[in-house]
Symmetry: C2
Subunit: 570 residues, 2 copies
Amino acid sequence: MLTDMDISRRAHLKYIAALGAEFGLLPDEMQLFGTTKAKVDLCVQQRLAEQQQGKLIIVTAVTPTPHGEGKTVTTIGLTQSLKALGNKVCACIRQPSMGPVFGVKGGAAGGGYAQVVPMQELNLHLTGDIHAVSSAHNLGAAAIASRLYHETRLGKAEFELQSGQNYLDIAPNGIRWHRVVDHNDRCLREIEVGLGENNGPAYTSGFDITAASELMAILALSRNLADMRARIGKLVLAVNRQGAAISAEDLGVAGAMTAIMADAVKPTLMQTLNGAPCLIHAGPFANIAHGNSSVIADDIALKLADFVVTEGGFGSDMGFEKFCNIKARQSGLTPSAAVLVTTLKALKANSGLTSDADINAPDQTRLEAGFANLNWHINNVARYGIPVVVAINRFATDTDAELNWLMEAVAGTAAFGCELSEAFSQGEAGALALAQTVMRACEQPSEFTLLYPDDMALEAKLSTLAEVGYGAAGVSLSEAAKLQLQELNALGYAHLPVCMAKTPLSISHDPQLKGVPQGFTVPVRELVLNAGAGFITALVGNVMTMPGLGLVPGYLKIDIGDDGEIIGLG
Amino acid sequence: MLTDMDISRRAHLKYIAALGAEFGLLPDEMQLFGTTKAKVDLCVQQRLAEQQQGKLIIVTAVTPTPHGEGKTVTTIGLTQSLKALGNKVCACIRQPSMGPVFGVKGGAAGGGYAQVVPMQELNLHLTGDIHAVSSAHNLGAAAIASRLYHETRLGKAEFELQSGQNYLDIAPNGIRWHRVVDHNDRCLREIEVGLGENNGPAYTSGFDITAASELMAILALSRNLADMRARIGKLVLAVNRQGAAISAEDLGVAGAMTAIMADAVKPTLMQTLNGAPCLIHAGPFANIAHGNSSVIADDIALKLADFVVTEGGFGSDMGFEKFCNIKARQSGLTPSAAVLVTTLKALKANSGLTSDADINAPDQTRLEAGFANLNWHINNVARYGIPVVVAINRFATDTDAELNWLMEAVAGTAAFGCELSEAFSQGEAGALALAQTVMRACEQPSEFTLLYPDDMALEAKLSTLAEVGYGAAGVSLSEAAKLQLQELNALGYAHLPVCMAKTPLSISHDPQLKGVPQGFTVPVRELVLNAGAGFITALVGNVMTMPGLGLVPGYLKIDIGDDGEIIGLG
C-alpha cells in the first residue's frame, strides 16, 4: 500500500470553490487559499439562519493505546461512505497542532484511503488559525507584563498622570496568563522571566502548547465574531494585590487580541479523498483542553448537510465527555448518534495483561479482558442518551475469528450496532455498512442528557465527573485547589461546567491503570478559571499543559524532497 | 482628509489574479489568498530566467525622527507615479512586524493616498510568513533543548544506544539559539528556562523579536527553496563542550524547519492604491537585522517590470548600507538609482538644536543646521556609486520659503536631483516629477561599489564600516567581542560581511548624538555568527534584539467595529 503522503499527493482534488458551491456555499461566502483550501465567511450563518439542521454524529473511541485506534481514519472514512451512499455530508474536525506533527506522528489528517487532502496543508499551517491564537495569546501576555513593568517603574500617581490609564496594582505573583507556542518544548514549562536590568520585575511563569490556550477553547466555543470579542474581554490575565481579577478588557488589549483572531473565526473548507466537504476549525487537545472542533463549523455544516461527522479527542471519558458537558451544553447542538472506535489491538493493550506475544497475534485471553474497556465506553456514551455504534477499525493482521467474537460480544451490550470499518485500505467502500448502521442510529429516538446541571455546586460537579464520568471512588482536592474552589465560588463562577485535564491513557487519572479502573480517587491539583471560554479547568494528577519532545522525535524524518515537496509527514 | 484605514477600505481593488496576469504572471504561478493577496510560485523564476532585468531603485532616508519621514509613503508614492507615467513598475517591500503594529504606530503600509491595500491584511498576518519564521525558529530551539535534556538524562552510552543518534555533548551554557515571538515583549529579553522537576537542565536564554531571527535574514537572502534549505542546515544552534559548532543539520531538524517555511519562500503579491503590483516578502528590522525585503521578490519583479522600487529600513547608514554590503553583495542585484527621503521637520529635529517652537513652524536656523545630516546621507549614498535623488516629503504645514531654500541647498550637493513628493495627499499625481527625475537618474552611468571586499579582515571590516560608513574615529571591541573575533577567524568565517546592530536614531551608536556626529568610537559589545544568513552581526552599544511596549501602546485603539471590521490600525 502507498504511504499516506503518496496517496494524498496522487489524489485528484476538486477545485475547492467548486466543491464549496456543490456544498451550498455562495462564491462570496468563500475566501480561497490556493485551490485546495477556503475560509468560510460567517455571513453564511445569517443566510442559513432558518435552514433546518442535519444530524450530528460524534466519533469517539476506547482508551487510546500506542498502537493507534484510527479515530480520525474512521471519522473521515464514515464521511466518505455516507457520501458514497448519496447523502449530503460534511466532516468537522480540528486543525492538527505542530507539536505532535513534529514530535510524534507526523500528521493528523486520517490515513490510508480515508484522509483529508492535501494532508501536508492540513498538518502544517492550514490557513493560519493556530498561529493567530498563539499571537493573540502572546499579545495578552506582553500587555500584562508591560503594564506590570510601567506600573512598578512609575508608581500609582506618575503612572496615571503619564499614561492616562488606571493603575491596576498588579503584583508579579498575580500574573495568571502564561505564554504559548505550538511546539513540544519541555524546557518552557517553567521559566523565570523579566531577568536582567530594566526588564522586570521578574516573575515565574511558563509556556503552554497553543492547543491548551483558553483562546483556543474560545475559538472552538464562540458562536460568531461578536461572541468571541465578548469572551476575550472576559479573559482573566492577572489578579491584583487586592485580589481583584484583571481582565483583557481592563487592560485595553481585548480588541487587539480579537483583531488578530478576526480571520481565525472562519472555518477552513477542505475535502476528503472522495470529495466530501470537511470543515477544519480550532485545535484544542482533549487531555488538557476541551478537545473538540468548533461550534461555528458544526453550525454551518448542519445547515448545509444532512449528516455532520465530528470527533472528540481521545477516549469517551475525554473529548466525548467534554463535547457533551461543555460544547453541547454551550451550543445546544446535540448529537443524534455516536460512533465508538475500537481495534482488536486496542482491546488487548487495554486488557492490563502483559504478554510476550505480538499484539497482532490472536490472543483470546487478552481480547476478552480488554473488552471490559470497550463495554465501559459503550455504557459511558449511552449514559448521555445517544445511540452508540461500535466501529471496529480492521487491520490486515486481524483474524476473522477474533473479529467475529468481538462482533458477537458487542451484540450483548448497550450498543445500537457494530460494524467493521476498512476505510483505511478501502476508502469510501470500506465503511458502507458502518454508514448505513449510523444512519439507522440517527433515526432512533434519542434524548441528550447532560451529566450535571449548571446549578450543581462546583465540588459536586467534580465528584459527579469523577464518580459517574470515570467510575472513581471519589475526588480529592489539594490545599491549593480548595482555596481556588472557595475563590471561584466567591467570584460567582460556580455555575460553570468543569473541564478535567488528565491523562487520556486511562479512564482514571493514572496512566498505569488499564481496562476499567475502580476504587481510585481523582486528585485535583489545581482549579483554573477560564472565564472567557466558560468553564473551570481541573488539573488532575501530574498532567502537563506543555508536552516534551521524545528521544526520537518525528521531525527527524521531515524534509524537502528534490522536487521541492515536503516529505516525511504522516 | 480621510484616515489611512478609511482610504484603504474605500479603495476599488483589482482582483489580484487579474492584476497578476497584467503583471505577467501565469495563472499557475499564483496561489490566491482571497481576492486581494496571492503567493507567487517560484517556478516563475525558471520561466523568466533569460528575461532582461529592469532597473532597481532603492529608497532610503535621513536619520529617522519621531515625526516620521514617510519613507514607505514615498516608496509606494513613487511606484504609483511611475505607473501613472506608463511604466511597468513593481514595489518590493517588507512585511510589517506585529511588534510595532501593536506597540507603536499601528501599521506600515504607507499612508494617505500612497498605500498598499488592503492595509489591515498587510499589517496583520498577510499570508503567514512571519508566523512560519517564528514557528521554524522555535522548533529549532525546542530541538536543541530537548537534545540537551535527553543527553543529560541518559549519558553518552545510553543516549546513543536508545536513540540511534550521535551524542553531541551539549552543555547548557553552550546553547546559542534564542526563541522568537513577533511582539514587543520586554520581559522575555532575559529568561531562565528548564526550571522545575524533569524539565532541565536550566539555562539562561531569551526571546528576540521574529524580525531579528536569523531565519528571517535567510528568508530575505535566499535565492530559492534549495538555497534556503542549505542555509538552514548551516545554522549554528549551539557549541558543545569541545567548542565545536552544532548545526541544525547535526540535530536533524533542518529539514523540518525548512518544511515549515516552504510556503514562506514565496513572495506575496498585493497592490498599491492605483493598482500597481507590490511584492511583500520577509521583514527584517534594519537596526537589529539587515533590514531589506527579499532577493527572491526583487529577482522576480526585475524580470517582470522596467522599474522596481524597494526600500531599506531607517537611514542610509542602516538599511541602505546593509542593502549594499550584504544583500546586493550576496545577490548581485544592484541598484540603478537611490531615493533619499527627507522632510523639513526631520532636518529640524536632526539639527541637534533644541527649541520651544513648534517643529512645524518655520525655523531657518534649525533647518540649516539639520541640513548637514541630509548632506551626509547624500554623500553616503553617492559613495556606493549610485545616483541619488532627494525626495522632500511635503507636509501641509511646510512653507514655500523653506522648501525653496532646501531645494536650492540640495542643488549644491552631490545629489543628482531633488523633488517634492506629495504622494500622501495626492496619490499617483503627487510624485510625478520625482518619478521623472528618478527615471533620468536610472539612465545615468552608475558603478556600484561595495564598502569593503570579502577578503578584508573582519576587524578591518568593522573599522571600515565605523569610520567610512558612520564617520567614526574608530571602533572598540569588548573583551567578549575580541574573543569572539578570534573564534570567528579560527572557524573560517572571516570572509563574511558585517551587519551592525545599532540604534537607527543617530548615524553613530548613541541616539543622543544628532546631526553628523564626529570623533565617536563605536563600541562593539558582541559578535554573533549568522552562518546560514552569511554575515556576522556586531551588537553595538546597548542595542536590544527585543523591543518593549511603551506606556501608551498602540493596541489600546485597535478593536473590531460593529460591522466586524478591524478598526484602529494605521
